[in-house]
C-alpha cells in the first residue's frame, strides 16, 4: 500500500486529492470530492454510468485507478456541464426530448454526448449511436437520447444561439 497525492482540475476547479494504491477514480470523485452525480452501475466498465472525461477523453471511472490520472489533468463530470455552454445545451435538449426516465444512466450518457459533440459538431446517426454504445439505458430505448444529441448538432449547425 502506498499513498499518492495529485492535483487535478476538476470541473474547472483545482483540487488536491490523496489516495492509496489503486483506489478507483470513481471512489475519489464520489467519496472524497462528493461528486455523487458520477454513478456506479456495473463496476466493471460495461454500463457507462460512471463515465467522466479525462482531458476530453471519455472513460469509465470505475476501472480507472486514480494513480493513472496524471498531475494537472482536467476532469469533467456531470456536475461541471452546467459551467459550459455546450454542456447546458445538451442538458436542455435531454429535457426537451424526454431523454431521461429513471435517470441513473443520464450522468454518464450526458458525458458521452459532450465528448462526441465537443469534437464533432456534425455527427452522423451512426456516429451518435457509436459514441453512446458504452452507455446502457434500460428505460428509454435510446431513441430519445439520439434525438437530443441530433437536436444539439442541428442547433450548432444552424448557428442559432438559444439562451441557455
Amino acid at each position: 500500500m502506498n499513498t499518492i497525492t495529485r492535483t487535478w482540475v476538476v470541473n474547472e476547479v483545482e483540487q488536491t486529492v490523496t489516495f492509496e494504491g489503486l483506489r478507483r477514480l470513481l471512489d475519489v470523485l464520489r467519496e472524497d470530492l462528493r461528486l455523487t452525480g458520477v454513478k456506479e452501475g456495473c463496476g466493471e466498465g460495461e454500463c457507462g454510468a460512471c463515465t467522466v472525461l479525462i482531458n476530453g477523453e471519455p472513460v469509465t471511472s470505475c476501472i480507472v485507478p486514480a494513480v493513472q490520472v496524471p498531475e494537472g489533468a482536467e476532469i469533467l463530470t456531470v456536475e461541471g456541464l452546467e459551467k459550459l455552454e455546450l454542456g447546458r445545451r445538451i442538458q436542455k435538449a435531454y429535457i426537451e426530448k424526454g431523454s431521461v426516465q429513471c435517470g441513473f444512466c443520464t450522468p454518464g450518457m450526458l458525458m458521452s454526448s459532450y465528448a462526441l459533440l465537443s469534437r464533432n459538431s456534425r455527427p452522423t446517426e451512426q456516429e451518435i449511436r457509436e459514441a453512446h454504445a458504452g452507455n446502457l439505458c434500460r428505460c428509454t430505448g435510446y431513441e430519445k437520447i439520439v434525438d437530443a444529441v441530433r437536436a444539439v448538432a442541428d442547433e450548432l449547425e444552424r448557428g442559432t444561439r438559444s439562451t441557455v
Binding site: F19, G45, T60, I63, P65, V67, P70, S112
Partner: protein
C-alpha cells in the same frame, strides 16, 4: 478482504526506470497498462489481487506511433482510440484500425492499449489477427537489451506469451498494407457490437487482374492463440479468384482451424463461421464491394 487500495503501485516515469524495477525480483510486479482487463479480473476475483504492480501508464517511450524504414512502429502503451485516430495507422493498417474500433466501447478504447490486448493473451484478443496479417514483430525490452519476436512466435499458447519476467513489451513493428492491397476485418459475436468475439478474422490481399498475388489470413478464437492460415494462403496464392476457388478455400479453412467449445460458442459453429469469414473476404474481392485499396 484485500482491495485495490492495498496494492503497492510503483509508477516509473521513464523506460529505464521501468526496466530497472523489472530487473529486480524485489520490485518486479504485475505490469499494468490500461487496466481494462486486469482491474476487472482482480475485482471479480477471477485473478488474485497482486501484492505490487508496476504501472506503465506514465512511461512516455511506450506511447508513440511512428514510421521507420518503411515499417509502422506502435508503442505498447498506445490506446485503441489513438490507433483509430492516427493518420499513419488509418492509412497503412486498416484491419488493425477496424479491430481497435471493435474493442469495447469508446470509454474502453480510451484506456485499453495494444500492448495490454496482446499481453492479456486471450485467444479472443481482437487486435491479434490484424497484427498477424501485417507480419508484426513484438519488440520486448529489458536492461539486457531488446528482442524482436515475430507475432506468431510471441503467442505461445492459451494465455501464454514469450515475455521474460524482466521484460516488458516495448512496441510493435508492422509492415504497412502495400499499395493496391486491401485489408479487411470481420468479427462475429453474440451481438453486432459490445460483445466478446466468437470468431474474428483479418485479411490482407493484393490482387492483380483477378489473380491473388499475395494473401495473408488470420483468425482469432479458433485455437489456443490467434493463428495465420498458411494452408489456405498457399491454396489461394497465384490463382485466379473463381467461385470454385472460394469454395475450396472455405473448405480448407474449416480443416485448418482447431476451435473449442466454451461459454461463448461451440466448436462446430466456430469452424463453420471461420470458413464463412474467409469466404466473405474473398467474395468481396470478386464483386468489387468493400473498402478502397491502400
Amino acid at each position: 478482504m484485500k482491495t485495490l487500495e492495498d496494492i503497492l503501485c510503483r509508477q516509473p516515469e521513464t523506460l529505464r526506470e521501468a526496466l530497472t524495477l523489472l530487473s529486480d525480483e524485489a520490485t518486479r510486479g504485475v505490469l499494468l497498462s490500461g487496466g481494462t482487463d486486469l482491474i476487472v479480473q482482480w475485482q471479480a476475483g477471477a485473478v488474485p489481487m497482486p501484492e505490487q504492480i508496476i504501472d506503465l501508464s506514465a512511461v512516455p517511450e511506450l506511447k508513440n506511433i511512428s514510421e521507420q524504414d518503411g515499417r509502422i512502429l506502435i508503442g505498447a502503451g498506445v490506446t485503441h482510440a489513438a490507433i483509430r485516430n492516427h493518420a499513419l495507422t488509418r492509412g497503412a493498417l486498416p484491419a488493425l484500425v477496424a479491430s481497435c474500433a471493435s474493442i469495447g466501447a469508446r470509454q474502453i478504447q480510451s484506456r485499453g492499449t495494444l500492448g495490454g490486448n496482446v499481453a492479456n493473451a486471450s485467444p479472443a484478443g481482437d487486435a491479434s489477427p490484424a497484427l498477424l496479417v501485417a507480419d508484426a514483430c513484438v519488440v520486448t525490452a529489458s536492461l539486457a537489451g531488446e528482442r524482436c519476436i515475430p507475432m506468431k512466435d510471441f503467442l505461445l499458447d492459451y494465455r501464454k506469451i514469450d515475455r521474460h519476467p524482466d521484460e516488458l513489451i516495448l512496441r510493435f513493428e508492422l509492415t504497412p498494407c502495400p499499395k493496391g492491397g486491401i485489408e479487411l476485418f470481420s468479427k462475429i459475436g453474440t451481438r453486432g457490437a459490445q460483445a466478446i468475439s466468437k470468431v474474428m478474422g483479418a485479411c490482407r490481399i493484393v490482387m492483380h487482374k483477378g489473380i491473388v498475388e499475395q494473401i495473408a489470413l488470420a483468425l482469432g478464437s479458433v485455437a489456443a492463440t490467434a493463428i495465420r492460415l498458411p494452408e489456405t494462403e498457399a491454396l489461394l496464392t497465384g490463382k485466379t479468384l473463381t467461385e470454385k476457388l472460394v469454395d475450396e478455400a472455405e473448405a480448407c479453412v474449416m480443416q485448418e482451424v482447431h476451435p473449442i467449445a466454451d461459454i461463448r460458442s461451440t466448436a462446430e459453429y466456430r469452424r463453420w463461421v471461420s470458413g464463412r469469414i474467409v469466404r466473405g473476404f474473398l467474395a468481396s474481392r470478386m464483386t468489387g464491394f468493400g473498402p478502397p485499396s491502400c
